[in-house]
């Protein structure tokens, strides 16, 4: 009891509580829900209420959703919460908060193990609780923190068990974590096998039969993933995001190089698909170690992408020194494994278009705090009180700037940039649909059916019965259902509206669409929202009978 209530443990508990409360602040609205989150929401709701997904399958391992076959961990966790609590955006994102907070004890354990001092462990815990990516991705479900946490847990348990008698128990836990990860987000499909290779390297001289058994366990657990990828249709995710799709920019540029050189032998050798792919992949990979990415570059708000760099500036030099320390101590298997993780972590992001893609680079989360602590310990920073105080003050200022940005500028911008129309539809559906008709065009919506489904918490069984859907290029397009009417353009929607309109009906339209509707229908405008991305204003209207 005395040990449990030691000052370090109490401090760790305090960090956990503060980090949790901090992450729960504006959880449901900053940033607004994105398309994938809406998809997870409705599938979790369907599982919690009827035990089926939105396509009517009972407790599936992969959720077809929009045709992207979402992995199941997040959805089942959310479904469990929806079973206990009233479904809402808060409970939808709650698992991500837990994943983010669980990094804190894991970093504490790992840092303590590496430095030999619990005080340094506490410092690691503080840092990981403040890192921008840790905070940002706690506010988003389905954006890979559910995969990165078990990966980090796997590494932590493997290292913790390295010099222990019950080593194989730790290895088993480590393997279990990897199994969980591969059902959470596809980044684990690359990282987990590579980690298993590393574990093999470290365990090769030990009990091989046990090792083979664990592998067999992992492989059996991974079989459904392999089947799903090669037969079940999940390849669409890779083809949609691949960095080396031959129809994209760099390959067009390669063609231009060959034309300039009139397709001579040298140009054919130097400019081809292999050299271009190699160039793209190496370039993408190196971007993850650019100093501008690590500490400087801020981006405009984008969906599921942190607009803030992964490190605070004051930590950046220590991060670099931390890498040097890993290299210097590489004869110790713990450091060698961490160095290996640092090098493989960018791979899922590097093979996708638009790298660096932070959510696909999340396997590195937690490492940065450990590297910084290693560097601080090497510099004996605890003996230099003035420098420590100065660093702490700068860090506090940087954290304050980030928090102000996240809950201020980013929150305001993302509210107007992301899914403004979608949220209007969701809100309206909550009140009037399906009792009354709801009309809108699919412009800027992605998947137009999902927002009213979530807003009205529409019965999954009734959705199966009334839905009219079609498949194109492995993707599923819902055309209409129940009292919901949408078309890709206002010109196509107007004849449909004339056919089915029963007053009063409701709609969400842009200002330009509304001008076209004026000559056909009478309506009152109830409210509006600006959508910065398309530089448009969306208006909520009630259609009524025209007076003679």
């Amino acid at each position: 009891m005395r040990n449990v209530l030691s000052p370090v443990n109490l401090l760790l508990g305090l960090i956990l509580i503060i980090a949790t409360i901090f992450r729960l602040y504006y959880l449901s609205s900053v940033p607004p829900l994105d398309l994938d989150e809406y998809g997870i929401y409705y599938n979790a709701f369907s599982i919690a209420t009827q035990g089926i997904d939105e396509w009517g399958r009972h407790f599936p391992l992969f959720f077809e959703s929009f045709g992207d076959f979402k992995l199941s961990l997040d959805i089942y966790l959310v479904a469990a919460l929806f079973k206990i609590f009233e479904p809402s955006a808060f409970w939808l994102r709650f698992p991500s908060v837990i994943f983010s907070v669980l990094y804190i004890p894991l970093v504490f354990l790992l840092t303590t193990n590496l430095t030999g001092k619990r005080n340094w462990g506490i410092l690691g815990a503080v840092l990981v609780s403040l890192i921008p990516y840790s905070i940002f991705y706690s506010h988003s479900i389905g954006a890979s923190i559910s995969a990165s946490l078990p990966i980090f847990a796997s590494i932590t348990f493997f290292i913790l068990g390295m010099k222990k008698e019950k080593r194989w128990t730790y290895v088993l836990i480590s393997m279990l974590c990897l199994v969980v990860a591969i059902y959470a987000y596809p980044l684990a499909w690359i990282i987990a096998p590579l980690l298993i290779l590393a574990y093999t390297y470290f365990l090769w001289k030990e009990k091989r039969i046990r090792l083979v058994m664990y592998y067999a366990f992992f492989v059996v657990a991974a079989v459904p993933i392999l089947l799903q990828f090669f037969i079940g249709g999940s390849q669409i995710r890779l083809s949609n995001t691949s960095a080396i799709a031959y129809d994209r920019g760099p390959f067009t540029e390669t063609q231009a190089f060959r034309q300039t050189a009139e397709n001579d032998l040298l140009s054919n050798i130097l400019h081809n698909k292999a050299t271009t792919s190699g160039y793209i992949l190496v370039n993408n990979y190196l971007k993850h170690f650019n100093i501008s990415y690590l500490g400087f570059d801020k981006t405009e708000p984008l969906i599921q992408i942190s607009p803030y760099p992964p490190l605070y500036l004051v930590l950046l030099p220590f991060y670099v020194f931390g890498i040097i320390i890993l290299i210097q101590r590489r004869k110790d298997p713990r450091y060698l494994l961490l160095l290996y993780v640092l090098l493989i972590a960018p791979l899922p992001s590097a093979i996708t278009e638009g790298a660096v893609h932070p959510k696909r680079y999340l396997a590195s989360l937690g490492l940065e705090s450990i590297l910084v602590v290693l560097a601080l310990q090497e510099f004996k920073i605890h003996k230099r009180k003035l420098v420590t105080a100065l660093l702490a003050i700068i860090l506090a200022v940087e954290v304050f700037i980030f928090v102000r940005f996240f809950y201020g500028e980013y929150a305001a911008k993302s509210d107007q940039l992301f899914y403004a129309k979608a949220r209007m539809i969701e809100e309206k559906a909550k009140v009037v649909w399906p009792k009354s008709q709801l009309f809108y065009t699919t412009e800027s919506l992605g998947e137009p059916q999902i927002y009213p489904l979530v807003g009205a918490q529409y019965s999954p069984i009734r959705y199966q019965q009334t839905r009219n859907a079609e498949r194109r290029d492995n993707w599923v397009f819902v055309r209409s259902f129940d009292n919901l009417y949408f078309e890709d353009s206002i010109e196509n929607l107007i004849p449909e509206m004339k056919k089915v309109m029963i007053y009063p009906s409701y709609g969400i339209f842009s200002d330009s669409e509304l001008r076209q509707l004026e000559s056909h229908f009478c309506f009152d405008i109830n409210g509006s929202k600006n959508y910065l991305l398309l530089k448009k204003q969306y208006l909520e209207v009630t259609f009524k009978e025209c007076l003679p």
């Binding site: 130097l270 160039y279 370039n283 170690f289 650019n290």
Partner: protein
């Protein structure tokens, strides 16, 4: 030396010399102005290779001499850069000259500070951002020039990608900082950072030349340590450097001049050549400062020819009938032709085409 006429000399390069000197040389031979700079850089490379890599002098010389950033700087007339590279090389290799190099550096810095900048703080903040982006791994080894396309050789960094290995290897081996190393290397590094901040250009390859020079020494040291005592490794390194050089030269000499023809104002040189080589009664040209400058350094044509520079769109419209006369040449730019009643697709209009097939000037 044999490739100094590539890429075509730019207005930025010419503007560093007095018009009187330029007028002495025919336009086709302006590239010879790059020779002194190339010699200074060659001299620096020889000094550095001989001083630091005595036993491996030839290998180091070959490696330094094929560094993309040095080759490009040898092909871009800029006296500040070449003297700075020579200055740092002298500082590193001639201990008795150190004091004079430092004094000279301070004098030049002071001059640059007081002569170039209106608002020092604004400049420092933008230069800092450029410095950070210039030192990215991808800028150094994959794609040079984060901010400007003026000297942006496609798919090439300031160093060959293979040099990433010796670069990282030497950082690892030399992680321990010693006092004498600090004085020797950190001081020129600080100078180089100051030089970067003071150099009034967005072309990182020139502004960062001091930093890149020190990094080059690291790369060469790393390579020599990696290959030392092994013929196989030496052969592999030689083959890789040769392959990288072939790729770089293909991109620099053949692709880059076409891809970024517009960035080097090729269109303006073509207009200048057209005016020089034709014999019209009157020329109407867009009032562009660079064009005026180029024509001003062609005394034999400029003084004799009747050239009128037009700045207003309305003036061009009023000149439509004038331009249709045979003995009058009107050359319109992209912006003007868009608003012009005839339009650029008219058969009476001849576009001046750059090597990348784009046109920014049209002859009427």
């Amino acid at each position: 030396m044999f490739t100094l006429n590539h890429p075509t000399i730019s207005i930025l390069e010419l503007q560093q010399l007095p018009i009187q000197i330029l007028q002495l040389i025919p336009a086709e031979s302006w590239w010879i102005l790059r020779i002194p700079q190339a010699i200074l850089i060659l001299l620096s490379v020889i000094l550095l290779a001989k001083y630091f890599f005595k036993k491996n002098y030839l290998f180091a010389f070959a490696q330094l001499f094929t560094m993309p950033w040095l080759i490009i700087n040898a092909h871009e007339l800029n006296f500040a850069v070449s003297f700075y590279i020579l200055g740092i090389s002298l500082y590193l290799t001639r201990p008795n000259l150190k004091k004079w190099v430092v004094i000279l550096f301070l004098m030049v810095s002071g001059f640059l500070i007081f002569s170039q900048f209106d608002s020092l703080l604004d400049i420092i903040s933008s230069r800092f951002s450029l410095l950070v982006h210039s030192l990215n791994l991808t800028t150094l080894f994959m794609q040079m020039e984060p901010n400007s396309s003026y000297v942006k050789v496609p798919r090439n960094g300031y160093f060959f990608l293979i040099y990433l290995i010796p670069f990282l290897s030497i950082i690892y081996q030399e992680a321990r900082i010693k006092a004498n190393i600090f004085i020797l290397y950190i001081a020129p590094l600080l100078f180089s950072v100051i030089f970067f901040f003071l150099f009034p250009s967005d072309h990182s390859i020139q502004a960062a030349s001091g930093i890149l020079l020190l990094m080059s020494l690291m790369v060469v040291s790393g390579t020599i340590r990696l290959i030392q005592g092994s013929r196989v490794r030496t052969s592999i390194a030689t083959v890789l450097i040769a392959l990288s050089s072939i790729f770089f030269f293909e991109m620099y000499l053949r692709q880059y001049p076409v891809m970024y023809a517009g960035e080097r104002s090729e269109g303006k040189f073509l207009v200048m050549e057209y005016v020089r080589d034709t014999d019209a009664r009157k020329y109407y040209l867009p009032a562009d400062a660079d064009l005026k400058y180029l024509l001003s350094i062609l005394p034999s044509t400029f003084s004799r020819k009747n050239i009128v520079f037009i700045s207003q769109q309305s003036e061009w419209l009023s000149l439509e009938t004038q331009c249709r006369k045979k003995e009058v040449v009107c050359i319109l730019d992209e912006g003007t032709i868009k608003e012009y009643p005839i339009g650029k697709d008219d058969t009476s209009i001849t576009p001046i085409r750059l090597r990348n097939y784009l046109s920014i000037y049209y002859i009427l």
